[in-house]
Symmetry: C2
Subunit: 421 residues, 2 copies
């Protein structure tokens, strides 16, 4: 394995990735893009090797009785390798965020002050089974001038080693330090806990995984992190909604990809339109196999559905299930959404301007949508080009995180001998 690291001392890997980060921070856009495009070509050229490594991972996982959903996330094929290469080329085509002058001014004393976008340094990514994250995360980190310190799962280890090796080789060919991408091959839980406490090594940690991973990080991490939280997303159908539009939006938000965080989990409907809207939207959703749960007022209209409990309203199903609440109007709808929202994406369907504006102002979430599907809350759809995740935090980044969210800024001050009085 010339192209990736032997399981070794985590602190030593940290020193190497930090040294590489200092060089990558100064890399030209041309060199970074060359590395990305070379990595894309190499991924395709080495497809056979990568798929062989992956087949080993898949076989081991099967032997260990892992669920078929996990095996599906783990397994690569020619199409998935080509998709990874295409992802690298897409990142190469994005504008370089480094060096952007965010703002600036000449102060009354003649000092020229600017705030300039700079890389974060070392971005740690801790992730679960999908091996494509190795390529995706490395590409976004590199384009933003950061070194990527990756810690994937044990199930995907051989695949990750093969993919990281290709990206490292491409970095070398582009004249950049291979340690700009370092994969931690020790996949023990103890090492994960040490990884999230590498103060002075990791400038920003991004977890990509489920609840257990996020909880471990909230509990153990001492390095700064940005968390991609749950999406308990609501669509509220206001009494002044166009009900055809509401039906289309609910159908799309709930059924186009129920397993993702921007999928709808709960429908809130004004009492005034519940009798005209609920039966038709129920028919639409049932055609897609969605199971409906409702509060007493929804059940009074739909009759045959199970009761939605407090837990159901608070839950991100990530599945073909939907909770339904009927409310008295805008105030009650806002109160309901504020109570159960996980702060991800919330939508209102209405033709009433004041209702739209109040919902936008009073609902506290990373994204609030008027007359559009929650499924649009995604880096690509909102114009960020690519995304590393969707933050439900309020500090640093909120909502889809693109290349810019993988940077910090630095004040640069030019003077001609000014001193402070």
């Amino acid at each position: 394995m010339p192209a990736a690291d032997k399981p070794g001392d985590l602190e030593e890997l940290g020193r190497r990735v930090r040294a590489a980060a200092a060089k990558l921070a100064l890399a030209t856009t041309a060199a970074k893009n060359e590395a990305l495009l070379t990595a894309a070509d190499l991924l395709e050229a080495r497809s056979t090797d990568i798929l062989r490594a992956n087949a080993g991972d898949v076989e081991r996982a099967g032997g260990e009785g892992v669920s078929s959903a996990v095996v599906d996330r783990l397994a690569l094929d020619d199409g998935r390798v080509r998709a990874m290469a295409a992802g690298l080329r897409a990142v190469a085509a994005l504008p370089d965020p480094v060096g952007e002058v965010v703002e600036g001014a000449r102060r009354p004393n003649g000092l020229e002050v600017s705030r300039v976008r700079v890389p974060l340094g070392v971005v740690g990514v801790i992730y679960e089974n999908r091996p494509n994250v190795t390529a995706d995360a490395a590409a976004l980190c590199l384009k933003a001038g950061n070194a990527a310190f990756l810690r994937g799962s044990s199930a995907a280890l051989s695949s990750n080693v093969a993919i990281a090796g290709v990206v490292r080789e491409a970095l070398g060919k582009a004249g950049l330090p291979e340690d700009g991408v370092v994969l931690v091959e020790d996949t023990s839980h103890e090492t994960a806990e040490r990884f999230v406490r590498l103060d002075g090594v990791i400038d920003c940690l991004i977890p990509r995984g489920g609840h257990a991973l996020v909880s471990m990080i909230r509990e153990k991490a001492s390095v700064p992190y940005v968390i991609d939280g749950d999406g308990n997303c609501h669509v509220y159908v206001h009494e002044a909604a166009d009900l055809d539009m509401a039906d289309r939006i609910v159908e799309n938000a709930k059924t186009s990809r129920p397993s993702v965080c921007n999928a709808m989990e709960s429908l809130v409907v004004d009492e005034a339109v519940a009798r005209s809207f609920l039966p038709r939207v129920a028919a639409t959703l049932r055609r897609h196999g969605v199971e409906l749960l409702g509060d007493e007022r929804a059940r009074a209209v739909l009759g045959d559905i199970p009761r939605a409990t407090e837990e159901d309203f608070a839950r991100e199903f990530l599945d073909l299930r939907l909770s339904i609440a009927v409310v008295d109007g805008l105030d009650a709808a806002i109160a309901h959404v504020r109570r159960y929202s996980s702060g991800h994406s919330e939508a209102i369907v209405t033709g009433d301007l004041q209702a739209a504006r109040r919902f936008v102002a009073e609902v506290d979430a990373a994204a609030v949508l008027v007359n559009a599907s929650t499924r649009f809350v995604d880096g690509g759809e909102l114009g960020l080009g690519a995304e590393v995740g969707i933050s439900t935090q309020k500090l640093h980044a909120r909502g889809p995180m693109g290349l810019r969210e993988l940077t910090s800024t630095k004040y640069v001050v030019y003077g001609e001998g000014q001193v402070r009085t």
Copy 2:
């Protein structure tokens, strides 16, 4: 004490401050400014009461044998109360950051996407003896639409209760919730540790205090925080420096206020100018009573100074002491600064463009200055209007934190029925 909270259940205080935050987030600029101006007037009108409460604090501190420096930070007089009132009026005069449209675009599918500045929610501030922080922090939080959840020291408790009471009364008079400012009156260490773990209550924690406080937060806090770290600030005198300018900048950076974080702690001088520059700058600094420590090469020039150890170079003296290193040129200077920098503020003095540009690019700090004193790294001096602190973190805010750094953003999306394909 009608105007402040009885020591009570921390969680109950948290519920009250969160409820107030939801209302403050929607407050108009006019109402927020009215509250700030009313608080300024009331501080002056109630000056006698505030000074009486403060005299009690000072007397208790004296009785407990607290150091005179601490008593000085604790003590208020008429001038300090007027300065607090002036601070509130200055914050009222600043532009409201809430509602700023940071960016926006119409997407190809017709969705209108904007990113809008919104309050963080509840800002927790945990601080030490200075009672003026109660007014300053509350004012900045309020102007940015946040509720302020304050936990000051036990020594300043009566002063803080009096000042917080005035601000709460002003909030009420302006039609805003008094719980927009809540002071925790239980000043036990246990309560401080519970305070920094109020997940779901505190959206952002800002510590204002020394090492012990910052360490406690790094170790115990589970809420998001922004830390105002050390400033081990360097001034590097390059061989192409104007030595008169270098002398003025070093004098100002080191001696104008040695106890603050943007004061200079270490001088780095090119060998080529060490013999011409060091003796004159030593004379300048000694006139101010600065004690000099140096590496072997600095001692070879200055002779009579003690040796600076590794610890000295790594240390923020916050005092009239300065470490001096002589280096071979730009590369060595950058390496020295990168090794010892705390990431606060670093300056180069040079007439050489390439040297300036390399120093700016390769030194990793919140602020890098060319031909200017490090003392300019301050919210007021850099044009932010006021500051809550200076972040040495890279996430969320880096460098001086003003009103904008007390906000987050929200994506707002308007459509006309768009669904995702």
